[in-house]
């Protein structure tokens, strides 16, 4: 018998600290698999965020840096410029990337840094206990929008892919979801492409994952996926927003 699916070598033996049924772990695995499949374990390094993936530096079986909240793209910039022969990615949540780290992500993208950004959007701050995120949907209740997010007061949820796609430099931008096995397989393709482009030094690559937060949304893991399909996907449209590798030369 042959093992056809198992924990990739690019993950350590450390169990994930995500809540049961949270799709964060799937994104973490897809990244680890892509790095393994591209044979990059010895040349890869990642940057962990502040948020639910704060311990990502323990999960990946290669060198990792833990960044201050939102600063991962700046840290990754310093790492890539310091060791250009290495391949660098960041792993960030919506509060980290789209609120406190807005300047860092926009400018890393605008410089076209040769790094990959993996962005988990579950429309809420998970780690701190379910507060409103920049991506929280209009009307959605959180502990800091207890009456529902009021766009007239606090603005509309930010669509990061669309925002970054307005810049010239980014090489590849795609939004995927982790809400069904089919979605996950499509997400895997996108992650693989980002890592491939990273390996080939094509430029800045950005993958947004529509993800769940069963704990803070207050649903069981399956219901959380259904809720996300019904409520998040209409606002956060899946698809490729930029792929310079596929453009006609």
């Amino acid at each position: 018998m042959q093992v056809i699916a198992k924990r990739p070598e690019t993950l350590t033996a450390e169990p994930f600290t995500y809540c049961p049924g949270c799709t964060h772990g799937i994104a973490t695995r897809l990244i680890a698999e892509a790095i393994e499949e591209h044979g990059l374990i010895n040349l890869m390094a990642g940057v962990a965020p502040v948020g639910c993936a704060v311990f990502a530096y323990k999960f990946f079986n290669f060198d990792m840096a833990e960044a201050a909240h939102g600063r991962a793209p700046a840290v990754a910039t310093g790492m890539k410029r310091g060791r250009p022969n290495m391949h660098i990615f960041t792993y960030q949540g919506d509060g980290d990337l789209a609120a406190i780290g807005t300047a860092e992500i926009v400018h890393a993208a605008n410089r076209g840094e040769h790094i990959s950004i993996f962005f988990i959007n579950n429309a809420i701050y998970g780690m701190t206990g379910g507060q409103m995120a920049p991506t929280t949907l209009a009307g959605m209740k959180t502990t800091t929008s207890p009456y529902g997010r009021n766009p007239d007061d606090i603005g509309y949820p930010i669509r990061m892919c669309e925002l970054l796609a307005s810049l010239v430099a980014p090489y590849y931008i795609e939004r995927v979801s982790l809400l069904s096995p089919g979605d996950i397989l499509r997400a895997k393709k996108a992650v693989n492409k980002a890592i491939q482009y990273n390996k080939e030094e094509r430029g800045f690559t950005f993958i947004e994952f529509i993800s769940t937060c069963p704990t803070n949304w207050g649903f069981d893991p399956d219901k959380a996926r259904e809720w996300a399909k019904e409520n998040m996907l209409p606002y956060y449209k899946l698809g490729v927003f930029r792929d310079k590798g596929e453009e006609v030369q």
């Binding site: 042959q2 056809i4 169990p15 994930f16 809540c19 049961p20 949270c22 772990g25 096995p181 996950i184």
Partner: protein, 67 residues
Amino acid sequence: MPRVTVDPFYCKGCGLCIIACPKKILQFSEDINDKGYHYAECINQEVCTACRLCYITCPDVAITIEK
């Protein structure tokens, strides 16, 4: 014959693999693991087709599939 194994050390009993399995051969264990979760386990290896849907869905990379 394919074989699916869920590692109780990693499993948090979220049940996503149980939903994903087309053959309905995964279920929650009677036992609990060290973290206190009823982990997923395979109750009938015979019918596993190694379709990998459980592995693909598992957020904790707790599943190994052999064929």
